[in-house]
């Protein structure tokens, strides 16, 4: 670890009523405890009941944009997966 800078961490937060952890941003911290505490201070404004995940940025593996086409296209021809495929009456609300 560089002595003059702490490693970068990516922060994921799941809100109290939330279903998934969402990427909130990044910050610098020396160790996991500090990363979680900093995330609490910076990204949750000290809200209670939230779940925080911290991962050192170097450990994140991401798909590359060129792969995007092959990774995602197959679903496009399965039209029944999209809500617009279904013709429903106008009076139906909340759906």
């Amino acid at each position: 670890m560089s002595k003059t800078q702490w490693p970068l961490w990516e922060i994921f937060i799941r809100s109290k009523q939330g279903l998934d952890h969402k990427h909130a941003g990044s910050l610098h911290a020396a160790d996991p405890q500090m990363a979680i505490e900093n995330a609490r201070d910076v990204y949750t404004r000290r809200m209670e009941g939230v779940s925080i995940w911290v991962v050192e940025s170097k450990h994140i593996h991401a798909s590359s944009p060129e792969e995007a086409a092959s990774l995602y296209e197959p679903a496009n021809d399965k039209a029944y997966r999209h809500p617009t495929f279904y013709d429903l009456p106008d009076e139906l609300t909340h759906m």
Partner: protein
Amino acid sequence: MDQLINYTLHLADNSLVLGHRNSEWTGYGPVLEQDIAISNIALDLIGQSRNFYQYAARLINQSTNQSVTEDTLAYLRDANQFKNCLLSEQPNGDWAKTILRLFFFSAYQYFLYRQLQNSTDGTLGAIAEKSLKEVTYHLRWSSEWVIRLGDGTEESHRRILAAIDALWMYTDEIFEAADYELAAANKGYGVDVSSLKDDWQKKVSNIFEQATLPFPPANKPGVRWFGKEGKHSEHLGYILAEMQFLQRAYPDSQW
């Protein structure tokens, strides 16, 4: 009633003075994330003090027909009327000194509020319960920093030893009860501070061990000087001169 008011003011002053000191770091912290962290802690502490001051103001107004506010109490009392412990008013020094001061104080507040939430006085109990959540975090945060600095580099170790040397002498006062604290404990709305000393020492000893710091520090018995009774160090005068300036220079004004 007077003793309840004094007790409440003591609790308020402790939190305000320590909060004020910590807020001096805002904008000047060693690292951005830590600047945010210590500002949060300052906000918690000042928030606690407001709860106590507002309660004290109500009590004063009820019993004396005045109409004082939290600001009257914070901004218009002179140093000899402040009842905070000497530890809280010590200067920030470097990060090590600030961390150590916070660690010593948070550990005390943790054990204090843990008992105070059972106070026979509902308001004090409620404030203590809310404050306990905050100081639990302050204690954890500052403990981790004591360990990082104690077991970090040679320089950080040296600096925290210097901090211990500067601050240890002020920790005795915390556990020596002032008159109003004795009255409070007797009547059940307050805590017998001397009963907290054991737990506090165990906590400090535990963290110091993990931090490779010697415990107990060499204690030079000093002359008894009691901030809780309004006998302060020279620092409080300057803190108040700065803090209270506008209210004193422009009396009877709304801000």
